[in-house]
């Protein structure tokens, strides 16, 4: 299972590396969202600094949606889905590989966005440990749930509109938890953030387990 996961993740990351979609389109989009927030809110009164945590995670979710659409659009074309099914790889491995690749892409995005909020919003982080752990755990949850819904919506003509509708309400607890935890890492007391990290970890664990068990039968349909 883990070997298969590495194979799939390697394939997806290679694809991303060669096509440069994440770095050339999704990352600039994420920065654009940060700038749009500055237009929507008043940049001079410190609102941006105070709202950094929430804006950061909303930007992550929106650009993450793009990354998810992309990784499953790749599989939808040219009968790749049948190819995946016939490859003999363990479906649980395919799930872990896909989710892992997405998680890595999202982490890269988060680094870009993190630099963005530090530079443009003037935010300063107090606890780097909490920050990094929150990012990793929240991203795992987003990638796992996203991969599940991604494959579910992949074969459909309405996938671009359906995926956000299905996925964003599911991810509401992640947005909440990650935002509160980030707030604690930014300006609050770091110890306030750790219970949220536990919640995020529980979310990630549930959806990773669900994915490992259910991905095979979701991949079968077309």
């Amino acid at each position: 299972m883990f070997h298969d996961a590495v194979v799939i993740a390697g394939k997806d990351l290679r694809l991303e590396w060669r096509s440069r979609v994440t770095t050339n389109q999704i990352a600039p989009f994420a920065l654009l969202v940060l700038i749009l927030f500055a237009f929507a809110l008043d940049p001079d009164r410190g609102i941006l600094t105070r709202a950094t945590a929430g804006l950061f995670w909303v930007a992550v979710l929106f650009s993450g949606l793009l990354a998810l659409q992309r990784t499953f659009a790749v599989e939808a074309a040219d009968g790749n889905r049948d190819g995946l099914r016939l490859s003999g790889l363990d479906p649980a491995g395919i799930f872990l590989g896909k989710a892992g690749a997405i998680a890595l892409e999202l982490l890269v995005l988060e680094v870009v966005l993190g630099a963005g909020v530090i530079v443009m919003y003037g935010s300063t982080f107090r606890s780097w440990l909490l920050l990094v752990v929150t990012c990793v755990v929240a991203t795992t949850g987003v990638a796992a749930a996203g991969s599940l819904y991604g494959v579910l919506a992949a074969g459909l003509r309405v996938r671009e509109t359906l995926l956000p509708l299905l996925l964003l309400p599911i991810l509401a607890p992640v947005l909440l938890g990650a935002t509160r935890s980030f707030e604690a890492a930014l300006a609050g007391v770091p110890s306030d953030g750790w219970p949220w990290v536990e919640l995020l970890a529980a979310f990630a664990a549930i959806y990773v387990t669900f994915g490992v068990l259910a991905f095979g039968s979701l991949l079968e349909e077309s």
């Binding site: 509708l165 299905l166 309400p169 599911i170 219970p195 919640l199 039968s217 979701l218």
Partner: protein
């Protein structure tokens, strides 16, 4: 042969009982019971709001149960139960939100507050709207059933996490939320209990009709092709 309507003796009896029950709840709730000491007439909404919220919960629970059972037994019966119940659940979620807002305006002064229960109910509505959308996507029956069963279960798993996280979020910010007074007068309690029973009857009535309707829809769909072929044949005079 396909029956022409979804009623039967049993549904007619349940329907009649529901109707009688609704009228008695109306009379008891609006006329017989006294207004609340603190909230006045606004408190009468409890006779509708709480039963509606209970039907919402029952509806989504049955959907999750039906979806899980479909994955296990692969029987069309369970799938149809799941979708019929989800539709009713969505309607009652919207009703619960609406009646809650109507009550909130005179009591809290606002239609909406970011209370844990309100927020998670709004998310619940959106989760199951997604389910209904997935349900309506055209595809093979088996594929559609599996897809919607997974969506229903994923949503169901999410519900406690949403509720937990949202209530935790709010409890960090505001200490006390309004709670309905715990002492309920005898007649009020009776009205509330009666209303719950009546609304559950209404749910059962709707579920049966919706179930039969969905069942018939699929029957007509599968028969549609055969009928069309034989009609064309008759037109052409081929026997």
């Amino acid at each position: 042969m396909v029956p022409e309507h979804t009623g039967s003796r049993a549904t007619r009896i349940v329907g009649l009982l529901t109707l009688i029950g609704l009228v008695s709840v109306l009379v008891l709730g609006l006329v017989v019971t006294a207004p609340d000491e603190i909230q006045g007439d606004a408190a009468r909404l409890i006779y509708v709001h709480v039963p509606v919220a209970i039907v919402m919960n029952v509806g989504f629970f049955v959907t999750a149960l039906g979806s899980a059972m479909w994955l296990w037994k692969k029987s069309r019966w369970w799938d149809t139960i799941a979708v019929a119940s989800a539709e009713i659940g969505v309607v009652f979620t919207a009703l619960a939100l609406a009646t809650g807002m109507v009550w909130g305006r005179p009591t809290w002064g606002v239609y909406w507050t970011w209370d844990a229960r309100l927020t998670s109910t709004a998310l619940l509505l959106l989760l199951y709207l997604g389910y209904l959308v997935v349900r309506r996507l055209p595809s093979d029956a088996e594929v559609r059933n599996r897809r919607s069963a997974f969506v229903a279960l994923l949503a169901f798993v999410d519900v406690p996490i949403v509720y937990y996280s949202v209530s935790w979020w709010r409890s960090l910010h505001q200490t006390a939320t309004l709670s309905i007074n715990t002492h309920i007068h005898g007649l009020m309690l009776f009205t509330l209990m009666l209303s719950m029973v009546v609304f559950l009857l209404a749910y059962a009535w709707m579920l049966t009709h919706r179930f039969r309707l969905a069942w018939l829809e699929e029957e007509t769909e599968s028969q549609g092709l055969e009928v069309a072929i034989s009609e064309r044949r008759a037109e052409a005079g081929v026997s």
